[in-house]
Symmetry: C2
Subunit: 564 residues, 2 copies
């Protein structure tokens, strides 16, 4: 149809299959499902064992070049690819993150794909789904209440510095920095604290990385909420909070089964922030999905230097799963933006000259694509370039991208999944299937036994392309402290801007000749990683002057309007 | 069984019916149900219209004498009564509030009844259920974020005083009073604010009192978040927040169908605080329940002066339903406590001499029971006394209560529902059924057209037994302001201690010769009432030194332990 109907119009017209039928396609027993409304079901974790004898699916992660502020369509491409694989006669399963309520009511709108490549039911997915995010908020804030309560009742454990903040699944900048305990002596201890968005909670990452309920319980216990004056960690286990947290999260650990517009199974589960957290959907969903079809398609947040690096180095290691191929989503507009010849700003229209036919501009931005393909290759994984086609693209521009991909030894396809659904992604599906037949030898960037600083340096030089890393003295000291306390064998995660391969959002293309500055490091002992901050990272978004929430309402029939 | 197994042991041994079967007993179509897991379903609101031609059930509210700090078993009695009515051949429906997570992890444990009179599944009920409380938290805090955001972006509406706080469903005293916006200029406006528990949210009351999705949407729009310098109200509609809030609450407005241990239908829905809010379950659940059986049994928070007064004056008016009988739960220990001869303290064992046979002590506490019966009569409703029997009771003590009830013209029954389930409540069921056959003429305490101050005075003198009311000047001024701005015809609600008929928790029995002091009044324009504060009311509980959460955990099979 031209013009394309809006996402919500397309979603509302969809004929949904029963989740029981969808599960049957996956070889999952009805007894393993708990229905949540008519179109969603939770899948019991015992399914992992039940499917253990089935063959392993090809494991495909969808990542991207360094994006413009608009994003380049990783989610739509993942959905479209799954639908395209089905059209090609395969039995794919899709595994994606659950959207956060904050952005839904902020600027971004829904996050269920777009056009004819969406996960449905769209309103359910974008609102509470089965309440997993709310369970994370409750578990996180119960621990926070128990920390504050412990201080109030005399601080027997001798907590000297508190590092555990609170979370809400809402964009509320006024809560970034608060003073709590601002009442009388019966109203808690006065101290500085603050709120992050729920997607930034360590509990969210724990839910995403846990391999079983028992593993979840243990990880919760290992959370470090603060430190004594002698530099000893104080954990959620020390506070006797981890059991109650696990109880709150018991159902949230079960993945949610939804479907694409074309009825492809979609496991939607957890939603860790892409910046200070892993930015990938859950391990348990992937362990189910990897035995419930012949292809498992998942997505990693931001570009290949961010989400895909964490997918390979952290998630695949935790899951014990080996990737077969990585799809790098690229758009004409993204490569043009990397030419650094145009000003692209969120909330503004693209400059008109950027929409004119400009294969040379695409070519000028190509180093970014080449670098991301080499990042994928550095892990021993097959890259595939997916050109996410826009109506404003020109054939000559697509040809440039095809040529660059081929020069880099990567398969490439143009995909029109937004306008045409799975039918538009059949070429992509075919080349992805071909790539998965190649011999791979998956190689993480670092060994867990490497020193923490070395791990950070290997990511900075081996993935980002930096010359080296400079550590602030406090960051060095913290790395030493973590190592002394037994956290030295954890993987690391670098929190930096997603708008550049470097830490400077203004550096486009594939920057060289720069050093990554690490100003601070922090510990996520429950999730199981150390994270290093390269620049200031926003963990609680704000709302714009006229946020999306102002346009969202119910119509007279009780339908949701304004969610797009 | 002697001794009685623990609540959670009894609950876990229960053989649950399918919610589809339970609904069938109620005359509700399967198509009206949305399953949430295997044992809970949401009931669509169109059921109200579908059942409109069916006969009206007898409407019975369970209330109590002024309780000891342990509570006197209103919930167990309501559950037992419903089970007893079923044993007597009736088709009862039970309608109760959903428990709050705060007390579950605080001191109180679960709130699903007790012994052989419980609502099940107990863990689901006491944890997230279907996420309705989380939806209230999200909607409430979205509005709070939009208020703070409006201030940050220039305060076009000229909000001078903000009255909208934030909520979390957790006991966290350190959040009672906070300073928000404590970061830099991009981190919001610095001001004093704080958090209440979700059960104290006006949004929770709106959900409880709304008669339809359209009514919910309108009530949300009427919420007053603050005032301009000129004394004009600023509403959620003015902030364009009410539509998004309604979207978040759309599913939460559908009542949750559970069951008692004996398979009786139980609609569990909403949970407004008993103090500053209405303390009653939802109007929509009662409108469904009142056509889905021959008896609808519900409970009102705290004693007859508190929850039942609000049930009659606020909820029944909003629902358009007329009560037939009110069960006043009484225990031997409560009347002994009202003798003022014993010290009863939360967290301490009852004094040994209180457990000795003491009919004279019961007699000495009887004025409290007599007063509550006269409160029920003042509404033109038939009272029934339910003696909630304890193993430590003596027959002579029950006899005193029977005699007092009879002297007051009330039916009376001893109920052993905790130890024996519905079988133990058959006598109670019979006398309740008899009472419902009496002619009644329901009469609220005041007319909506009475001035606000008069309404408060009529409750204080006509219900509590005060000589009169003294208003602080600020309270008088606020009542005048509310009247000028068009809120004069709202009902009123008085927030006072539940531990006495008066505002002083130390005054036992039926105090006389006292004046009710109103220090402050507030407006809940969306919920649709003005509330007057008589004493300081805690809207955010704290945790004890060793809260219940410390004992709650998962066992090796993944079962919840420590919830009792």
């Amino acid at each position: 149809m031209t013009p394309l109907p809006s996402d919500i119009e397309i979603a509302r017209d969809a004929q949904l299959r029963s989740p029981l039928d969808v599960a049957q396609d996956m070889g999952i027993d009805t007894a393993q499902l708990e229905p949540y409304g008519h179109h969603v079901a939770k899948v019991d974790l015992s399914t992992i064992d039940q499917l253990a004898d089935r063959p392993q699916a090809k494991y495909v992660v969808v990542t991207a070049v360094t994006p413009t502020p608009f994003g380049e369509g990783k989610t739509t491409t993942a959905v479209g690819l799954a639908q395209g694989l089905a059209k090609e006669g395969h039995s794919p399963v899709l595994a994606l993150r659950q959207p956060s309520l904050g952005p839904v009511f902020g600027i971004k709108g829904g996050a269920a794909g777009g056009g004819y490549s969406q996960v449905v039911p769209m309103e359910v997915l974008n609102l509470h789904l089965t309440g997993d995010f709310h369970a994370v908020t409750a578990a996180h804030d119960l621990l926070a209440a128990m920390v504050s309560n412990h201080l109030h009742h005399g601080n027997e454990l001798g907590i000297h510095t508190v590092e555990w903040r609170r979370v809400l699944d809402i964009n509320d900048r006024a809560l970034r920095a608060i003073i709590e305990g601002n009442g009388g002596p019966m109203d808690g201890v006065t101290r500085q604290s603050g709120f992050d968005i729920t997607a930034a909670s360590e509990v969210m990452v724990i839910l995403a990385l846990a391999t079983s309920l028992a593993d979840l319980r243990e990880r919760l216990g290992r959370i470090v909420v603060g430190w004594t004056k002698a530099g000893e960690p104080v954990t959620a286990e020390d506070l006797k909070a981890a059991g109650a947290m696990a109880v709150l999260l018991r159902d949230a650990l079960k993945p949610n089964l939804l479907q694409t517009l074309e009825g492809t199974p979609a496991l939607i589960h957890t939603g860790p922030f892409g910046n200070i957290a892993t930015g990938n959907s859950s391990v348990v969903a992937d362990r189910i999905g990897s035995r419930a079809g012949d292809f498992l398609v998942t997505e990693a947040g931001f570009a290949a230097d961010m989400g895909a690096e964490r997918f390979f180095n952290v998630k695949c290691r935790a899951a014990g799963l080996t990737p077969d191929a990585a799809v790098v989503v690229v758009t004409v507009r993204a490569l043009k933006a990397h030419s650094d010849r145009f000003q692209v700003k969120l909330g503004k229209e693209l400059p008109a000259e950027m929409l004119a036919e400009g294969p040379a501009d695409v070519e000028a931005g190509a180093p970014n694509l080449r670098k991301h393909l080499s990042i994928i290759r550095s892990f021993g994984v097959q890259p595939v370039v997916a050109i996410n086609a826009f109506p404003t693209d020109h054939d000559s521009e697509h040809e440039v991208i095809r040529r660059i991909a081929t020069e880099e030894g990567a398969r490439v396809a143009v995909s029109t999944h937004v306008a045409e659904g799975g039918q538009g992604a059949r070429e992509l599906a075919r080349v992805v299937a071909e790539a998965c037949e190649e011999e791979t030898s998956f190689t993480p960037t670092y060994e867990l036994s490497d020193p923490l600083a070395t791990k950070i340096e290997k990511i900075a030089t081996g993935v980002y392309g930096a010359d080296g890393v400079s550590f602030e003295p406090a960051a060095r000291r913290a790395l030493e402290q973590y190592t002394e306390r037994g956290y030295g064998e954890l993987p690391v995660l670098i929190a930096k801007t997603q708008m550049s391969l470097s830490h400077d959002p203004n550096l486009k293309g594939a920057p060289t000749g720069w050093t990554l500055p690490i100003r601070e490091v922090r510990l996520a002992a429950g999730a199981g990683y150390v994270y290093a901050l390269a620049g200031s990272i926003m963990t609680m978004p704000g709302l714009s002057k006229h946020p999306g929430a102002e346009r969202i309402d119910l119509d007279e029939q009780g339908n949701v309007v304004g969610l797009f």
